[in-house]
């Protein structure tokens, strides 16, 4: 497979997943605001700050909106073309990448990516976000699922599909860590205590962001406790949006491409992903909290970024050997 094609498939898939995650975060935050509205007068601007922080775009946000309220935050996360990580920008980038590899992906995949982009690019999307943001978010999330499902169902499960899987898993692991980190930035209103009512609602919203509340309840009966939520989202071996699950799937796809056994490594990307995978396999939530949750998540994001660069170096940048 052409190196450029591998790179485009990887980024196409990452951007789709990123668009979905942004929609999830915005969705849950909006729900949270509505929940809290009954109990007290929320300072909406403050409630949106953690999300802008988790996207690492505070300055850009402040520079674009005179009145940085909840409406502005939703616009910034969803449709703002100047925000390189808005749902709009992610889908535009996904589509641009898909366009360069149209002959590699199935027609059905292209059609669904194109439709999703046309939706956010047109009046329908804008209007829906204004009138019924919930529906807008569902549309993005379902659209992403459709693309991923169609990819699995219509594409040959060869090298290209593996690069798509790597993009998706890597981005998902990164996003789950960012969603968890939102809670770190989320200040409790004054007078509220840790483990209190508001704190619990906030942790539940973190689970909802990852479509994990139902799965969580089946495993941990009873109270939603911070360390249990973190444990679930970081180390659960079977929940498909946990960091561990995502890294496992990333590592497996890497090995499928090179053909080397999963207990070994054939290149730098595999060495790094293998190490992260086994760290996660044996991590305990006690250790993580001792190290500091925020610090642990930041470190994980850094390690994922290193895997991404190593992947590029291995398959896309300087591979100019002529095979015998």
């Amino acid at each position: 497979m052409l190196s450029r094609v591998a790179d485009s498939l990887f980024w196409m898939s990452r951007y789709i997943e990123r668009a979905e995650n942004n929609a999830r975060i915005a969705d849950v935050n909006l729900q949270l605001l509505l929940d809290l509205e009954n109990t007290r007068d929320p300072d909406t601007q403050q409630q949106w700050n953690p999300i802008i922080s988790s996207l690492e775009e505070n300055e850009l946000f402040a520079s674009l909106y005179q009145n940085p309220d909840g409406q502005a935050a939703i616009d910034f996360v969803c449709l703002q073309q100047k925000n390189p990580n808005s749902v709009y920008s992610c889908l535009a980038a996904a589509r641009e990448n898909a366009r360069t590899v149209r002959e590699q992906i199935s027609s059905e995949m292209w059609e669904h990516i194109n439709r999703l982009f046309l939706f956010v690019n047109g009046e329908t999307g804008k209007k829906m976000l204004r009138l019924s943001p919930y529906e807008f978010f569902r549309r993005i999330i379902t659209g992403s699922h459709l693309v991923q499902g169609v990819a699995d169902a219509t594409m040959t499960h060869g090298e290209g599909w593996d690069f798509i899987r790597i993009g998706k898993s890597l981005e998902r692991a990164d996003n789950t860590s960012r969603i968890l980190d939102v809670k770190y930035h989320l200040l409790l209103p004054s007078g509220e205590r840790v483990g209190g009512n508001i704190d619990t609602v906030q942790w539940m919203s973190v689970l909802k962001s990852c479509s994990a509340l139902e799965a969580y309840r089946k495993i941990y009966v009873g109270q939603v406790a911070p360390w249990k939520v973190a444990e679930f989202l970081i180390t659960h071996p079977e929940f498909p949006r946990s960091i561990r699950f995502s890294v496992e799937s990333l590592d497996a796809a890497l090995h499928r491409i090179s053909g080397s056994p999963e207990t070994n490594y054939a290149n730098e990307a595999e060495r790094l992903s293998g190490r992260l995978r086994y760290d996660l396999n044996f991590a305990s939530i006690g250790d993580i909290f001792e190290y500091g949750l925020h610090e642990y998540l930041t470190l994980t994001q850094k390690r994922l970024a290193e895997i991404s660069s190593a992947l590029f170096e291995t398959y896309c940048a300087s591979n100019e050997a002529i095979p015998a």
Binding site: M1, L2, S3, R4, V5, A6, E96, R99, T100, R102, E103, S107, W110, E111, N114, R115, L118, E159, I257, Y315, C316, N319, E320, A321, I322, P323
Partner: protein, 482 residues
């Protein structure tokens, strides 16, 4: 929709569908009946479905002069254009004759130049053609084929005779619309096809791949064929991708290829892989910055050297542009006589050469009655339609013609035939042309179908997509209607 056709006016032009007002030609009768039975809201629904299908599939092209919304769908008209079996047979013979002569001509002028020595074509016309590549003199192209893919534009005059308007012998585009239009029509009017025996166009990609494999360097048993595109911002990118996909070959950009030891390789995730045949959709000028334009970032440094060594084949060959130069076009009937000793089956449109003194005087005096074309441009650029021009525009062309006579030709304004097209809730006659695609490999193949471009604006004679034209599905019938 009876009432729509009832008011239809052929306007004194040759009409593809109607013999006389209200009287459909025999090969159109079934279609007319089906359309008159169709209810207006049903038709509107089909129209919407067609546009939506094209947009969703991303069947779009890019317009350079348009800053906003650069991607547009190629407007598609739902009423197909039908060509009877008999008419097609003649077109096919004419095109086969023409491409044979053009390939012989290219071989000749890049070798012995007998046609110039015998004075059939003035020597200067070839040597001054912008796309003549003297550096390729005495170079042997694989299988002696220069133009592997040709798109020849035909028009009909007032009497319904087909004339050749121009040849496109470099990187002709549009064939993907032929296939896509057919797919849309099948989806929108599934029943129509059962009633007509329409010849299929879908095997074009397979035939093209056969041609590309046929010209592979000698000794390669299973050649690696790729399509070289300028990239996703090129106006025809959709087509590049479509063709690569339907042939199952890689689509590459210049940066994906690298020259090593006189060979061409592509960069893959498993290292470098040798490439044998390149279907290039990049013009000569941009192919190799070491040989042609130094500023080209689209090509591959070292590509020409690899080609010269016979390690990689190109389709079309380098230097074919001299054959579709609009001055050389004038001489094609003479080429056919010279190489094949035959009369041209499909005549040219009468052409005046500005470099010829008496012709030039005639052109300058009659600008408003003529179409003036730059010899080396395509796509409707660099063109003046006299009857639709202002005095200022004519003055501008007068100056250009006097400054560079070799670069201009003029033709009488052909009253192009019309075909009914749907426009703003009314069916009206719109001017059309016809671009069939000719493949030259082991044999010459012409896909039974073509791109019918239609000038959707009232009275307009310019059908190019870059100038607001649309297209129609074009049916070639299997058998003569009884």
């Amino acid at each position: 929709m009876t009432e729509f056709f009832a008011k239809y006016d052929t306007g004194g032009f040759y009409d593809e569908m109607f013999d006389a007002p209200g009287q459909a030609r025999s090969h159109y009768q079934r279609l007319l009946q089906r359309f008159t039975e169709l209810k207006k809201d049903e038709f509107d629904r089909k129209h919407e479905l067609a546009a939506l299908t094209l947009l969703r599939q991303g069947v779009t092209f890019t317009v350079y002069s348009d800053a906003q919304g650069t991607e547009r769908i190629f407007p598609f008209d739902l009423i197909p254009r039908i060509i009877s079996a008999g008419e097609w047979k003649k077109i096919e013979r004419g095109l086969e004759q023409r491409i044979t002569a053009l390939n012989l001509f290219l071989h000749d002028i890049y070798h012995g130049q007998s046609i110039l020595r015998d004075g059939v074509i003035p020597k200067d016309y070839v040597w001054q053609a912008a796309c003549f590549r003297p550096e390729f003199m005495h170079f042997n192209v694989p299988q002696n084929i220069y133009i592997h893919i040709c798109g020849t534009d035909l028009v009909r005059d007032r009497d319904g005779n087909f004339l050749v308007l121009e040849d496109n012998a470099r990187c002709p585009s549009g064939v993907s619309y032929v296939i896509q239009n057919r797919q849309v029509m099948r989806r929108v009017f599934p029943n129509l096809f059962a009633q007509h025996r329409v010849r299929p166009v879908e095997d074009y990609s397979q035939e093209l791949l056969n041609v590309l494999r046929y010209i592979a360097p000698a000794g390669t048993t299973n050649p690696t064929v790729v399509l070289l595109t300028p990239g996703i911002y090129n106006s025809a990118y959709f087509e590049h991708s479509f063709l690569a996909r339907s042939m199952g070959i890689e689509i590459v950009e210049g940066r994906d290829l690298i020259a090593r030891d006189g060979k061409i390789f592509m960069r893959t995730t498993k290292g470098l892989q040798a490439v044998d045949v390149i279907y290039r959709r990049i013009n000569d000028d941009f192919l190799d910055p070491k040989v042609f334009r130094k500023d080209s970032g689209l090509g591959v440094p070292g590509l020409v050297e690899a080609h010269r060594k016979g390690n990689v084949s190109l389709a079309n060959s380098i230097g074919t542009g001299v054959a579709d130069d609009k001055v050389i076009y004038h001489f094609v009937p003479k080429m056919i006589r010279y190489y094949l000793d035959q009369d041209a089956i499909l005549p040219n449109v009468e052409t005046y050469l500005a470099s010829n003194e008496s012709d030039r005087a005639f052109i300058l005096e009659n600008l408003e009655k003529l179409v003036v074309k730059a010899a080396n441009e395509s796509g409707g650029y660099g063109m003046l339609v006299g009857s639709h021009s202002t005095e200022a525009e004519r003055e501008e062309f007068r100056k250009r013609i006097q400054k560079e006579p070799r670069n201009y030709i003029a033709q009488p304004i052909v009253p192009l035939s019309r075909s009914p097209a749907f426009d703003d809730d009314v069916i009206r006659g719109r001017h059309v042309d016809l671009r069939p695609y000719i493949l030259s490999g082991e044999k010459i193949k012409i896909i039974p179908g073509a791109l019918t471009r239609v000038a959707l604006c009232e009275g307009s004679l310019v059908v190019n997509s870059s100038q607001g034209g649309g297209s129609k599905d074009t049916w070639v019938l299997e058998k003569e209607e009884e």
